[in-house]
């Protein structure tokens, strides 16, 4: 890797996570390191079937700290995401990425958690108040969501 050298242990851990992720190839989630920097990955999650996010695909940016996995990676949505727990800059409010982070999590479990978060938001602590309010009304929610997705997702 030509990138600024993080410790070999971190690289090794990320390589083995990548290998595990590639080989298990779970449905609807994926991630891959940037060609020039093992610490920066691009992720992709698809909304789970039979949820309002079904059929929508979101890109994520994953930045791993030099002391990963002892510190959580920084994850943001690359594709604008209209969701109660995601703000307009793509920042995500999810406890396991913050205070509940543990070294036992890995890329795959994080992505699965995010996929779950899409369909199961925590409306009690919203970053997007409008989305949180609309959540009760799933039909209206879906209409606004699709409009938002059409407007923004194609920029990507």
């Amino acid at each position: 890797m030509s990138a600024p050298a993080p410790s070999p242990a971190v690289i090794k851990r990320l390589q083995s996570e990548l290998m595990a992720l590639m080989m298990s190839n779970p449905e609807g989630i994926s991630a891959f390191p940037q060609p020039d920097n093992m610490l920066n990955w691009v992720g992709t999650i698809a909304g789970a079937p039979s949820t309002v996010y079904e059929g929508l695909t979101y890109k994520l940016n994953l930045k791993f700290p030099a002391d990963y996995p002892f510190t959580a990676p920084t994850i943001t949505f690359g594709t604008p995401c209209w969701h109660p727990n995601v703000d307009e800059h793509g920042n995500i409010c999810l406890d396991i990425l913050k205070e509940k982070w543990s070294a036992i999590y890995n890329v795959q479990s994080i992505l699965l958690s995010l996929q779950t978060l899409l369909a199961d938001p925590n409306v009690a602590s919203p970053l997007n108040g409008q989305a949180a309010q609309l959540w009760e009304n799933q039909d209206e929610y879906k209409r606004v969501l699709l409009k938002h997705y059409k407007e923004h997702a194609h920029q990507q």
């Binding site: 890797m1 390589q15 990548l18 992720l21 590639m22 080989m23 190839n25 994926s30 991630a31 891959f32 390191p33 060609p35 990955w41 691009v42 992720g43 992709t44 695909t57 890109k59």
Partner: protein, 759 residues
């Protein structure tokens, strides 16, 4: 003030007084003196030194001339206003400001530096120089202190340690001494010294400070005594030249002690690191502390340095222990009462207690025989006086046992030999370094347990029954902790000895150990079914053992056993040491060239994960390879395709470990392995398997980055799967096949995932 007129006979003096009085009568004389004083005040102001600071030979001479001109003025005053010496003092005082005092200090300091160099080179030279008349007490002291060459001879004049060229040779030194003497005489005559004392003492401070600082980092040789002697002589010379009063002498010596003490106190941490090479520095510091009584300040400074430099996460536990031991030895030298040691050790001990590998490090040090600790460890009960730190008492100051802080300050001194044993009883914790380390923890059991684990590991690790080294370690530990504490260790050694005796022939080299006494951790190892030949061998051994020891039952510890295998393949023989489970896994290939993972797992009677680990072991050694998903085959030939055959065989050996319900034993095994032949085309299959891995990566990158060109894909694969490089041509063929299989689309030179047109 009698100086000016000292040379004059009394009659002459009287005559001058008469002359002044007679010239103008009493009242007139008053006004006449005022007038003369005004004139001389102006003349004194007119006398200026040509230099603004004194730093070298030229300025040294200029200042001397300046003093000479003031002397001329003084002589004129004595002539014109004879007898009114007090008034002269006032005149000089008025005109001699801070600038002149500063110059005087610099001049004095320069002179002191030279004198110091001269007395360190050849003290007797001082007596040969033309110093003018020095009589009385000063002269006698001068002869006493410079009369012998002790400590001076041996240095060459060329060795420039101060003073520049002013005393670079014997002739120059003699010339300098003459000049310096003249200057000092003038100072004395001019009554300047009465209020320029501070300048002289300041010069002493400065010269001593320079010399002491030059010794920073030089810990191998004593510094204090040579410096004190040299400085003492130089001060004596200056005092004699200044007219015989004791001005510089007492001050100079105190300065040497204070400066050396401050220097070594600052450097103490480094000195301890260097110990015992720095022994001389410790001796110096001890002498200083003995004089100054600043032991507690030294202790506090060292404690601060220890916290700052040692007790942080960057220092390894081994380093901390080493430094702690050095500190114990140094501080015992420094302070037999152990006051300092207590103060400094407390944070170190608290810190060591908080590190979880401290016990292991200490035990490791104790048994490794390489550490300095070991020297002590063998002689724990050594009598008090025999400990390495005990130095010959330098001049015993007989305070007796020093236990409280006050007395440590008041009368710090090495304890006399008689007091030593008393002292030691009172501080038995200081008996030796190892005891101190052990006492960091409340319980000694932790050390014994740690040692047992270490012993068990070392007995299990190497094959064979030779325990001489371990025996020595146990004996040593017994000396320290008592035979009772080491009972379990004794049982372990005895088990090894017994195992050797009951060796029943065959390829087994079992180690039968008693489960209740062995401290070895039992790694959770899945139990595997051994192949029939091996199992039969074991059964025979067990039957024989149980026949010999009716009340005992053997339980095999496969995780500790080692099997030595020789694997014959078509074109080579591989020798390896493996765990029984790994050997058994390989044995599964005895009859079949390729086996599915599930089959192997079934044969071993364990889960697929465990079986896969065993197979990976052989894969890493080139004996097996993964032919496809979940299928392994023997690598019969290293060339392209193998055909082949193999026989397995082996022989085994050595295993070990533990247990049974109440006793036990164990053993070992052996085994064999063999492998069957593989068919042609295996290489092609393996390649296809590797490319399947690549395809997963390709899907990953296309999913996340969108469509990519062939060279990008090739570059990223090369980076992320460096062990399995694929040529660009091969990759293109493979991707073309994927396109044919409708898994990828190729459009405009870039590949994309099928059905993801939007990406």
């Amino acid at each position: 003030m009698s100086n000016l007129c000292e040379g004059l006979p009394d009659e002459a003096l009287q005559a001058i007084v008469e002359q002044i009085k007679g010239r103008s009568g009493a009242p007139a004389a008053e006004s006449s003196i005022d007038r003369v004083a005004g004139e001389y005040r102006a003349r004194l102001r007119g006398v200026r030194c040509e230099c603004s600071e004194v730093g070298g030979e030229r300025e040294f001479g200029q200042f001397l001339e300046y003093l000479g001109r003031i002397g001329d003025v003084a002589r004129g005053w004595a002539r014109d206003a004879g007898g009114a010496q007090m008034a002269w003092g006032a005149l000089v005082y008025e005109s001699f400001g801070a600038a002149q005092i500063g110059l005087l200090q610099q001049w004095m300091c320069l002179g002191l530096r030279c004198v110091l160099r001269i007395v360190e080179t050849d003290p007797a030279l001082v007596l040969r120089a033309d110093l003018g008349a020095i009589g009385g007490e000063g002269g006698r002291r001068l002869r006493d202190c410079c009369g012998c060459r002790e400590g001076g001879a041996g240095r060459a004049w060329g060795d420039d340690s101060g003073g520049g060229d002013m005393c670079g040779s014997e002739a120059a030194a003699l010339r300098f001494l003459g000049e310096f003497a003249r200057g000092c005489r003038l100072l004395a005559e001019l009554s300047i010294l009465d209020y320029a004392r501070g300048a002289v003492l300041g010069a002493v401070d400065q010269a001593v400070g320079e010399r002491v600082e030059a010794q920073a980092g030089r810990w191998a040789e004593p510094v204090l005594q040579p410096l004190a002697r040299g400085v003492g002589r130089a001060a004596c010379v200056v005092d004699a030249l200044l007219g015989g009063r004791r001005l510089a002498a007492g001050h100079a010596e105190a300065q040497v002690y204070a400066r050396v003490s401050a220097l070594r106190e600052r450097e103490l941490f480094g000195i301890i690191v260097d110990y015992p090479e720095s022994r001389a520095a410790i001796d110096d510091l001890r002498a200083c502390v003995g004089r100054l009584g600043n032991m507690r300040a030294v202790a506090a400074a060292l404690r601060g340095a220890v916290r700052r430099r040692l007790l942080h996460p960057g220092a390894t536990t081994g380093d901390i222990l080493t430094q702690y031991i050095s500190a114990i030895r140094c501080l015992r030298l420094l302070d037999p009462s152990s006051t300092v040691l207590e103060i400094v050790a407390q944070p170190i001990r608290a810190y060591l207690r908080s590190r979880d590998n401290t016990v292991a490090c200490i035990v490791q040090d104790m048994v490794s025989g390489e550490s300095e600790l070991f020297e002590d460890a063998g002689e724990p009960g050594a009598e008090p006086g025999a400990e390495p730190g005990a130095e010959p008492a330098a001049g015993g100051g007989g305070e007796g046992v020093v236990l409280d802080e006050d007395s440590a300050q008041r009368g710090w001194a090495p304890l006399p030999a008689e007091a030593r044993s008393v002292c030691r009883t009172a501080q038995r914790r200081d008996a030796d370094a190892v005891s101190l380390l052990v006492s960091i923890f409340d319980s000694r059991d932790v050390f014994v347990r740690e040692f047992e684990a270490h012993l068990a590991q070392s007995l299990l690790r190497h094959a064979g029954y030779d325990t001489a080294r371990e025996r020595a370690q146990v004996e040593m530990m017994k000396l320290r902790f008592g035979a009772r504490a080491l009972e379990r260790s004794e049982v372990m050694l005895k088990d090894v000895a017994d195992s050797r005796r009951i060796r029943l022939g065959g390829a087994h080299q079992p180690l039968v150990v008693s489960r209740q006494f062995w401290a070895a951790p039992e790694p959770p190892e899945p139990h595997v079914l051994l192949p029939p030949p091996l199992a039969a061998m074991r059964a025979r051994y067990a039957a024989a053992y149980e026949a010999l020891n009716p009340a005992r039952r053997l339980e095999w510890r496969d995780a500790q056993a080692l099997v030595t295998l020789r694997v014959q393949l078509a074109d080579r023989t591989v020798e390896a040491e493996a765990r029984p489970a790994q050997a058994a896994a390989l044995f599964a290939f005895q009859d079949a060239p390729a086996r599915a993972l599930a089959d192997v797992a079934q044969a071993l009677g364990c889960g697929e994960d465990a079986a896969l680990r065993c197979l990976r072991f052989w894969q890493a050694r080139g004996v097996l390879r993964e032919a496809g998903a979940g299928v392994f085959e023997a690598v019969e030939a290293l060339g392209e395709e193998g055909a082949a055959v193999c026989g397995g065989d082996d022989d085994g050996h050595k295993g070990q470990q533990e247990h049974g319900a109440s006793d036990d034993d164990d053993d070992d095994n052996d085994d064999e392995a063999a492998a069957g032949g593989a068919g042609a085309g295996a290489a092609g299959a393996a390649r296809a398997a590797a490319l399947r891995v690549h395809f997963n990566f390709i899907v990953g990158m296309l999913t996340n980055f969108g469509p990519l060109a062939l060279d990008r894909i090739h570059a990223m694969l090369g980076m992320l799967l460096p062990g399995e490089a694929v040529a660009a041509d091969e990759l293109r063929d493979f991707l073309a096949q994927m396109v044919r299989e409708e898994r990828l689309d190729l459009a405009g030179g870039t590949y994309r995932l099928r059905g993801r047109a939007g990406q």
